[in-house]
């Protein structure tokens, strides 16, 4: 019995302190910092450790108003004590001080399960910053990502040695606004894969997609030969200083039909973004970081007072070019008015973001004479040299001529020998205009039309002169000429009126007609042959007989002394006309 009681007491004794400890330790809140003295560029880690809470605590972060919160993280563990779950959490804040001097991190108010807890205040000393931040030098040394993506880190956890993806950065420390190249490569021991679906991580900063290397090459990695293929390449620009974690990228890969899909996850990357130094920061600095050049072009010929001219400025180089929205200039507004006109980009995204940003400004000279052009300038931070640079257009003078709004000085007689043009202006308007003078094309001009007419007439005349005897002309004119019977009849009618004509002329005309009928020359043919052919063509026999007798009569009259008799000729002509008409009818 005593033994049993002792056992119970012993258990109670053992249990009671544990229960008390458990109740005491159920909720406790502590805060700590990694360093109490630091420079303005340094980062400190502020931790709040909450033990024994069942539910996640609520922390009001307003007490960290003197700091920039670069990163937050939470570590959590659970304990089962007396069938109760208790959580132990460490809330970490990576902080960069905003002000120099002694800063007190005040008590943080933490709401846990309806009860408010407070941490102890912590005093830290912030010293003045340096131009080259020292923050996270340790993390730089520890980093396994080296420049140009020469990855020397291990294969990501959970990935197969035969197939994995690796994310690399070209640098692990960069200034605010500096370009960082991020690349993801697929390492595989298989020569081919069927499908790859890549899912980029959430960067939380500005990214610009670059052209990835399309080639697949082989590379030895940890002593094993792999096929390496770049699957993502981009430029990152961060405008918030601090430590940045780039989460893992993932890719769904199907090697071939027999294998299922595999989801590959890359390694996470950390990157330290350091703020730009305040020392020597130019007033016109707009956040441009990289390596840049400056060029300008302006046509200084023929500048006229109050007439705008364009100046084209080109900022080229590699970096966050789009950060530069305008270019500052210095000028006296009474001499030159300057207005921004347009901005055009010519940017390439191959290995890095490179290109030219063209700015156009309009300048209006307000006075005439020899003037100094406004000087344009811009500043950028060169991360290689760790210093700010300012580029300015060179000093140049231009001659601006008077627009004519003011009266030009009148040259005296003694200056006649050295006449110089003071300004250029338009030739004056026409005050006297003849409204009838209208511009017309040549085909509406009377002179041109007259020339066309004259040339047409002359062409016809010349053409006829030269070609009317040629066989070609005959051939051409034949379809348009009169029919032989009508022509012969007309000719015979003319012969009737002509007193000097002979019987031979009449005979000739009759033979022309007969040639037309028989389709061959009939001049030398015997009369009997002509008659025979006409009969074969089945012309009326009485008409043929009349024709025969007429030709006989002609032959007779040709040798008769009475051949020139007017009456006989007219008679023959009439007969011939009659016969021709009868044949053609």
């Amino acid at each position: 019995m005593i033994g049993n009681l002792f056992s119970i007491l012993l258990i109670l004794l053992l249990f009671l302190p544990t229960q008390l400890v458990a109740n005491e330790a159920s909720i406790s809140v502590k805060s700590s910092v990694t360093k109490t003295t630091l420079t303005i560029n340094d980062i400190l880690e502020y931790k709040i450790t909450i033990s024994g809470a069942k539910n996640p605590p609520k922390i009001d972060e307003s007490f960290l108003k003197d700091f920039s919160i670069i990163n937050r993280s939470t570590q959590q563990s659970y304990q089962l004590i007396n069938n109760n779950f208790f959580s132990s959490q460490i809330k970490s804040f990576r902080l960069r001080p905003n002000i120099e001097g002694t800063i007190i991190i005040p008590s943080s108010k933490i709401d846990i399960e309806g009860t408010s807890y407070e941490t102890d205040p912590i005093t830290i000393t912030v010293l003045a910053g340096t131009s080259s931040p020292k923050a996270n030098s340790s993390s730089i040394q520890q980093s396994s990502n080296t420049a140009n993506g020469r990855a020397s880190q291990n294969i990501p956890q959970g990935s197969s040695k035969d197939l994995f993806i690796l994310a690399v950065l070209d640098k692990d420390q960069a200034y605010v606004g500096e370009e960082i190249i991020y690349s993801v490569r697929l390492y595989r021991r298989f020569s081919t894969i069927d499908q790859l679906l890549y899912q980029e991580p959430k960067f939380g900063m500005l990214t610009e997609q670059l052209e990835r290397d399309q080639q697949t090459y082989t590379q030895s990695y940890n002593g094993v030969r792999y096929y390496v293929q770049e699957i993502d390449r981009r430029s990152l620009f961060s405008y918030e200083p601090g430590l940045i974690e780039i989460p893992e990228a993932s890719a769904d890969v199907q090697i071939n039909f027999f294998y299922g899909n595999q989801t590959l996850r890359s390694n996470t990357l950390s990157l330290t973004i350091t703020p730009l130094p305040e020392d020597g920061k130019p007033d016109d600095f707009s956040g441009l970081v990289g390596d840049f050049g400056f060029d300008f072009d302006v046509n200084t010929m023929g500048l006229v007072e109050n007439k705008p001219i364009a100046i084209r400025l080109s900022v080229g180089g590699s970096g966050n070019l789009k950060q530069l929205s305008n270019i500052s200039f210095s000028t006296d507004s009474d001499i030159f008015k300057v207005y921004q006109s347009s901005v055009n980009d010519l940017i390439t995204y191959s290995n890095s973001v490179k290109g030219v940003r063209h700015f156009e400004y309009i300048m209006v000279p307000k006075v005439d004479g020899t003037l100094s052009l406004p000087r344009f300038s811009f500043s950028y931070f060169d991360p290689k040299l760790n210093q700010y640079k300012t580029l300015v257009t060179p000093q140049s003078s231009v001659s601006v001529i008077d627009s004519g709004d003011s009266t030009a000085p009148i040259s005296g007689p003694d200056t006649i020998s050295s006449v110089t043009e003071l300004r250029k202006d338009l030739r004056y308007i026409k005050e006297s205009i003849s409204f009838d003078d209208q511009a017309k094309p040549f085909y509406k001009h009377i002179f041109s039309l007259a020339l066309i007419l004259l040339n047409s007439i002359l062409s016809l005349m010349v053409g006829y002169s030269f070609f009317h005897k040629s066989p070609t002309y005959e051939l051409l004119i034949k379809p348009f000429s009169q029919k032989p019977n009508k022509r012969v009849i007309n000719s015979l009618e003319q012969l009737k009126k002509n007193p000097s004509c002979s019987v031979n002329d009449i005979q000739q005309n009759i033979f022309i007609f007969l040639s037309y009928l028989l389709d061959r020359p009939t001049q030398g043919l015997p009369l009997s042959e002509i008659i025979e052919e006409l009969s074969e063509k089945k012309y009326d026999s009485s008409t043929i007989n009349d024709l025969e007798s007429l030709l006989d009569q002609c032959s007779f009259l040709a040798y008769s002394p009475d051949s020139s008799s007017e009456a006989s000729k007219n008679d023959i002509c009439d007969k011939a006309i009659d016969i021709i008409k009868r044949i053609k009818s």
Binding site: N299, R427, I429, Q438, A439, S448, N455, V462
Partner: protein
Amino acid sequence: MKYFVTVFLILYMLTSYIISDNQKLLEQASYHYKNSQFEEALSLYETLHDKFPNNIDLIFNLGNTHFKLNNLGFAIGYYLKAIKWEPSNSELRYNLSLTRNLIKQTIEPSDSILYSLLGWLRFLSINTAFNIMMILLLIGLVTLRLIYLKKFNRELLTNMLIICGISLVLSFSIFIHRYIDYSQEKGVVVTKKQAVYSGPSENLSVLFYIHEGYEFKINKSAGNWVELELSNGFKGWAPLSSLFLI
């Protein structure tokens, strides 16, 4: 007869009235121009231009007024329109070159020998080229006729005919050259800056930008859009509203 006289008198009075009205407008426009009231002058010149669209002097005055109003695109457009008819007009050429100096587009003359030899051709209008060709043809035809009629020394006439023939071929080539230039539709950009698209829609991609005073050739048109071609060979589509067609 009496009726005809009455009609003639009425017509004469009406014509005189219209002419005097136009003269009055012209005088007012000149007055405004002299007093640097270019907006008013422009309005009056445009009224007159609507009535006499092909009057070279009016086009010249419109060009000047637009220049004074800093509408350089319109100024160049009007000068080019006038030069189309009177390419040898020195005042027009001077004003055009002065205006071209103030814009961004640089038209560099070719330094080729052929251009130097044939550069003077641009001073010939289509009408002059045609009339020269017609006169040479007339001389040639008269010479042929004389050869046929055997009126003068045949050798002299033959030589003259050969010279006429060669000149006629040359003048015909020049006329064709001028006719192609005359028939080519051209224009000038009148807005300060205009995007040129890959097709007749603002939804298509922008190929390049053109600025006020840029001169171009027109290849084709579709609705309110034209396909233009710059002297450097760049082609694209732009809306008619930003262009002045010559």
